[in-house]
């Protein structure tokens, strides 16, 4: 993804939205500089704010140069923001991710993940719902077994009584060698 200048030393055209993005970053940098300047403490070189002020000042300076360089390059031709920068799939997946993050706590890990995979795979691959559902369920189960049981990562439980299932599995395995004697 390196930027290759076009033959003849001409600057490549900027991408749609590039100048706006640079401007936004500059605005954000300025806001952070203001924040850094207002960090409490004495105004000494060793104060809590010295490195933050220096770093945000560098951000502002660098972004100013980048913005000027970007504006000097020719406007984009034949490229559209919707197609080249934010195609439908990306918007869709980011939307699904936000939905996932919101639902994770109330619904729990298992149902939310299955739902996410189902919708994402179905809409991206344009295959049948059945195929998507099959892949979603198998992968969620695999992830759950690997991460809940092997890595012992605790995910939000939500509506599925995970703890009881794990306990049940443990009992089952503990009981098996002895032929079910308890």
């Amino acid at each position: 993804m390196s930027q290759t200048p076009e033959p003849g030393g001409r600057q490549p055209a900027r991408r749609p939205g590039e100048a706006i993005f640079a401007a936004l970053l500059l605005a954000g940098s300025l806001a952070l500089l203001w924040q850094a300047w207002n960090i409490a403490g004495p105004s000494r070189l060793s104060a809590a704010r010295s490195v933050p002020v220096a770093a945000t000042a560098v951000m502002c300076g660098a972004m100013l140069i980048v913005l000027i360089q970007t504006l000097r390059r020719p406007r984009p031709v034949g490229a559209h923001f919707r197609l080249d920068i934010l195609p439908g799939q990306v918007v869709l997946i980011v939307g699904l991710l936000i939905g996932y993050a919101v639902l994770l706590r109330p619904l729990g890990f298992l149902p939310t993940s299955a739902l996410f995979l189902l919708v994402a795979i179905k809409l991206l691959s344009r295959g049948s719902w059945l195929r998507a559902a099959w892949i979603a369920v198998v992968s969620v189960l695999a992830i759950w077994v690997i991460f809940r049981l092997v890595f012992t990562v605790l995910m939000p439980q939500g509506i599925v009584p995970e703890g009881q299932i794990v306990q049940l599995l443990r009992d089952l395995f503990a009981a098996a060698p002895g032929g079910g004697a308890r």
Binding site: M1, S2, Q3, R15, F21, A22, L25, S29, L32, Q35, A36, I39, G41, R44, L45, S46, A47, A48, R49, S50, V51, P52, A55, T56, V58, M59, A62, I65, V66, Q69, I85, P87, Q89, V90, I93, V94, L97, Y100, A101, L104, R105, F109, S113, F116, L117, A120, I121, L124, S125, I135, S139, V140, I143, F147, F151, T152, V153, L154, M155, P156
Partner: protein, 506 residues
């Protein structure tokens, strides 16, 4: 003797050896699948292994690192898509070889050469690191500050083309790392009055966002591209082939280790330089370079694996990461309560030797797995991305959540994922951001120590910079990188040419 025993830990404990094997195996596939990167895999894995015992976690992650650097070569040869940046040079001659029907031979040579390069790198690490660490104990706070700046600058200038964008990214990382309570004065920095921000932003969330989610989002843009099938025959290269190219392999290894050890430069640059070197020293290649020269495959593959050992030198001895992957490895060590730097070598030498042993084991597994399992490999690479990408995203979310069991970390991760998507799209390098985050605290602390030690007097600070040769050299390096990116060198060169031509005519 103790060192040898510590290095052998990995072999004496079957469980650790198994973890290295799993890591290397997974690393090869992760590195091979275009769109999945080692940085992505290691950053997601950190969050899953943080509750583990440190040896196990390191065994797994070192394996992934080593396997991942090699794995990129497979797709470079078969599909002409480098699975990782370090395999860009491999594709130049590797893919033409595959097109001629010699894919198996190409993969075999790449594997054996990676193995040789990997060993040279580890050897240098084992010999050089204790010496460098001993030297580093004499470093002053200002030297650490300068080395940290140098690392961020180098990554910024080399990874993306535009140094200005790299500097911005590095500074952004430093700011992200500074968020939260200041450890010295308890002043709140960039917390915006939010209690959630007082503890800072979890760097694992930043890492997974920038390297996991944003890469997955970029991959969504090419979701419809199909993989190409390739038939693979004989894979084990003949002994003659290996012996013939051994001198070149050793030279490239030297280049790889050196470049890998420089802060900010990693396997990708090492591979390209080695490729260039091979082109210069090979007088009469059997096949011209770019059309399937074996030399063009040998050089980058030895160099990028040799760079792994090299990259561990500054990481273990100075606590300064060489590139994004080592930055993440440093993060992993932090999480396990280890502080990479010269004191680690003094306090916990067994940890260092354990890592050396793990690297050796991982390197052997690269050879083993590299020469087998081709059929499975082709299947995995052909796994549809429409399934792969949603799975990566789920893993990213689980990973971000798992570290602190906090949903806030998931939100941060998503925010950085979207930011990273735009940064990548508009050619801002993201690696300096993560280096900045990791080095923020080191930079801040050492700056304050340095300036307090001269009683807040900038004049004396500058005097001291020029009083010690090390500080002077580091400062010069920082200034040179700056100047190299401005129009100044071009003006000087033009002036010089004018002078010279003037003298010739006159």
């Amino acid at each position: 003797m103790d060192a040898l025993l510590a290095a052998l830990t990995v072999i004496t404990q079957p469980q650790l050896l198994l973890l290295v094997a799993i890591g290397t195996f997974a690393g090869i596939y992760v590195g091979a699948i275009p769109g999945l990167s080692v940085t992505m895999a290691v950053s997601i894995l950190i969050s899953f292994t943080f509750s583990w015992e440190v040896y196990s976690a390191l065994a797994l992650m070192t394996g992934i690192f080593m396997g991942g650097v090699y794995g990129g070569s497979r797709t470079a040869i078969l599909l002409n898509i480098p699975g990782a940046p370090s395999a860009i040079a491999t594709a130049l001659d590797g893919h033409p070889l595959a097109q001629r029907g010699e894919a198996g031979m190409a993969i075999g040579v790449a594997t054996v050469m990676s193995f040789i390069g990997g060993f040279v790198g580890i050897l240098v690490l084992a010999v050089a690191a204790p010496t460098v660490a001993g030297f580093a104990l004499t470093f002053q706070p200002r030297d650490y500050m300068l080395i940290a700046l140098l690392g961020i600058l180098l990554v910024g200038s080399l990874s993306g083309g535009s140094l200005t964008k790299g500097i911005f990214a590095g500074a952004l990382g430093i700011v992200i790392g500074a968020v939260g309570m200041d450890p010295l004065t308890f002043a709140q920095r960039f917390t915006f009055g939010l209690p959630d921000l007082r503890g800072g932003i979890s760097f694992v969330a930043v890492m997974i966002g920038l390297f996991g989610v944003s890469e997955a989002l970029i991959q969504l843009r090419h979701v419809d591209k199909q993989a190409v099938r390739q038939k693979i025959t004989r894979i084990l290269p003949s002994f003659g082939t290996v012996r013939k190219h051994l001198p070149l392999a050793l030279q490239s290894s030297g280049i790889g280790v050196t470049i890998g050890a420089l802060p900010g430069t990693g396997g990708d640059i090492a591979a390209l330089l080695a490729y260039d070197h091979a082109k210069r020293v090979t007088r009469n290649p059997e096949t011209p370079f770019g059309e399937g020269a074996v030399e063009g495959l040998v050089a980058p593959e030895t160099a990028n694996n040799a760079a792994v050992g090299g990259a561990f030198v500054p990481m273990m001895t100075l606590g300064i990461p060489g590139d994004a992957v080592t930055a993440i490895m440093i993060g992993a060590l932090f999480i396990h309560g280890l502080n990479p730097g010269p004191m680690l070598m003094v306090d916990r030498p067994e940890m260092f030797w354990f890592i050396v042993g793990t690297l050796v084991a991982a390197n052997c597994f690269v050879l083993l797995f590299g020469l087998t399992g081709i059929r499975l490999f082709v299947k995995v690479v052909e796994m549809p991305r429409t399934v792969l990408i949603p799975l990566i995203l789920i893993l990213s979310i689980v990973g971000a959540y798992a570290v602190n069991n906090a949903i806030t970390d998931v939100y941060w991760m998503l925010a950085f994922g979207v930011l990273g998507y735009f940064l990548r799209l508009y050619h801002y390098p993201v690696a300096p951001v993560i280096l900045g985050v990791i080095l923020s605290r080191l930079l801040d602390e050492n700056w304050r120590r340095a300036i307090i030690s001269v009683r807040e007097s900038p004049e004396r600070f500058f005097q001291q910079l020029f009083a010690s040769p090390l500080s002077t050299v580091l400062l010069m390096a920082v200034i040179l990188i700056f100047l190299s990116q401005t129009p100044l060198p071009r003006l000087i060169r033009a002036q010089w040419h004018k002078l010279r031509s003037g003298r010739q005519t006159g």
